[in-house]
């Protein structure tokens, strides 16, 4: 069940979590709701930054940095360049028909309801307290060892995947020569 946190006795970490969550959800919603594509991208950047904050809160420093670099440094820049390339920054987007939008809202509410109800009734393995083994499990050292020993093959395949994606992107976005 949900324990309603005591607002008067909230620890700084709980307050931080609440603030970060509110920022994440609000900017995620604004990403979808805002009309201009450029504003959407900026809101999404804020959303990803707050998710990095969540990772820092979970003490996963390397993950937070990688999230910043990959999502904000690479993916969002790519999206911003595409938006600028297409010159889409105008508000003449035609809306979907009203029935589709209504359906989207209904799907959103139903999915939230079902998933939250499902997870509210699921029982946690550890009830209440999470014991700390004191073992180091998320420093860069541990992650690197795990990545290069146990997950060696998927790691190499990820590099192949990125290479293929790069070649594919170049091929797709190259201008085709006009056939005679």
């Amino acid at each position: 069940m949900i324990q309603i946190p005591d607002i008067a006795n909230a620890t700084p970490i709980q307050i931080l979590f609440c603030v970060l969550s509110v920022i994440t959800l609000a900017t995620a919603f604004l990403t979808i709701y805002s009309k201009k594509p450029m504003h959407n991208a900026i809101y999404l950047v804020i959303c990803f930054t707050s998710i990095s904050g969540h990772y820092l809160l979970l003490n996963a420093q390397f993950l937070a940095l990688v999230n910043l670099i990959v999502y904000i440094g690479a993916i969002m820049i790519l999206m911003l360049f595409t938006i600028m390339l297409m010159n889409l920054n105008k508000e003449n987007e035609v809306h979907k028909p009203r029935i589709t939008r209504l359906g989207a809202i209904v799907v959103f509410c139903l999915m939230c309801l079902v998933l939250i109800a499902m997870f509210m009734n699921s029982k946690p393995i550890a009830d209440g307290s999470y014991d700390v083994t004191g073992e180091d499990y998320q420093s860069i050292q541990v992650l690197g060892k795990l990545l290069l020993n146990e997950y060696m093959v998927p790691f190499e395949f990820a590099s192949v995947l990125l290479l293929v994606a790069m070649i594919g992107a170049v091929l797709l976005s190259k201008k085709e020569k006009i056939e005679k």
Binding site: T24, T82, M86, L146, L172
Partner: protein
Amino acid sequence: MDNILNQIGIENYIFLSVILFCIGVFGVLYRRNAIVVFMSIEIMLNAINLLFAAFSTYHQDAQGQIFVFFSMAVAAAEVAIGLAILVSIFRNMGTIDVGNLKNLKG
């Protein structure tokens, strides 16, 4: 070192991820602009990544974070290919409204 989940609780992370994922689904269904649809997919992927990281802390196990790295690599590849396809569609049709892409409709 104190565990962060003692103070926040895994349920709150689950609820945050669920709501974030639902917002992503809502964006895919609600908008017609293909770039915004892409951004919604990114939001969904991030919700799952956050849940992976939270459960990695819950189980005191690094494998959850390794999965996040792989999902990030796949997301980067997906965005590169998807945006290339979008640019190509824009060049051919002059719009990226997903409602106009019905050439394959019988």
